[in-house]
């Protein structure tokens, strides 16, 4: 992922990626975050209850919870709406 994302877009990426259990390393790799920023965002989402941390077969994993559903639904609705009319730009 290149370019400038907002924090909400990063949250959405983390939460959708973690629908299946993921390790911290795989999350920051997939979402192109450095360790410090990744820790901040994941910590925030954990505190909100959007992510749950658990251990399985000796691996520390994170998984998105049902609490995140209103955020993910609103995000989906609003971002699809951006392209609901048009096409706005056509050669």
């Amino acid at each position: 992922m290149k370019g400038k994302r907002t924090q909400f877009e990063i949250y959405w990426e983390i939460l959708t990626y973690c629908r299946n259990p993921r390790t911290f390393t795989s999350i920051i790799h997939r979402c192109s975050l450095n360790s410090k920023i990744g820790q901040e965002h994941i910590g925030f989402l954990e505190n909100k209850g959007y992510l749950r941390r658990f251990e399985e077969e000796g691996q520390k994993l994170l998984k998105t919870t049902d609490v995140a559903k209103p955020f993910l639904d609103a995000f989906k609705e609003m971002y699809l709406e951006l392209f609901s009319r048009g096409p706005d730009f056509k050669l």
Partner: protein, 207 residues
Amino acid sequence: MEQSTLNRIKIEMQSFKGLIITNLIGAAFALAFSMAFGIPKLIPLLTEGTFEIGQIPYLGLIVAGFVIGISWITRSAELMSEHDDLVTELEELGPSDDEEIISIIVQSLAFYRENQTKIRQLGIVGRIVGIFLILTAIPQIQALLSGVYPLGNWMIIGQLFGLIGSLGVGIAGLYVPTLINRFSEKWDARLSSTEVAEERLDRILRE
């Protein structure tokens, strides 16, 4: 709904790709024309090693044309490279891949935020090159009309080709910024919409 959203994104992405390709072609022509126009005036400098004050504008023209052309090509190529990754990803999507479609939207917005300035600069460079090429076409038209052009017979085809090339690319160079402005306006509006979306998302996060 997702199917049509996907199609709309595809059309927009392909249109922007077309715009960048037009820019690349324009840049290549601008480079070629600045060389073709300026280098013959410098042949004495290259062959005889003599330099006259009158050659300075032509030397400046070559240098300016080269710098603008290369910078235009580089910027277009950088945009093309990043944008092409998105287009390739988009082509592989199916209509039911909701999250993948949103992921492309997020990446497209990130791409536009990152490259806003570069995209606008392409428009400015296009306009400069357009004006430059139309100016270079004026003496060619005058020469053809007055019949004093140094080339004759079948070589006139070459003259006409050069003239049509200068005018064609010049007009395209002037028109491309209009397209870029249209593109920027639409995406600026989308960025504003995401700011409104952010307020709602922020409220949800605070609940």
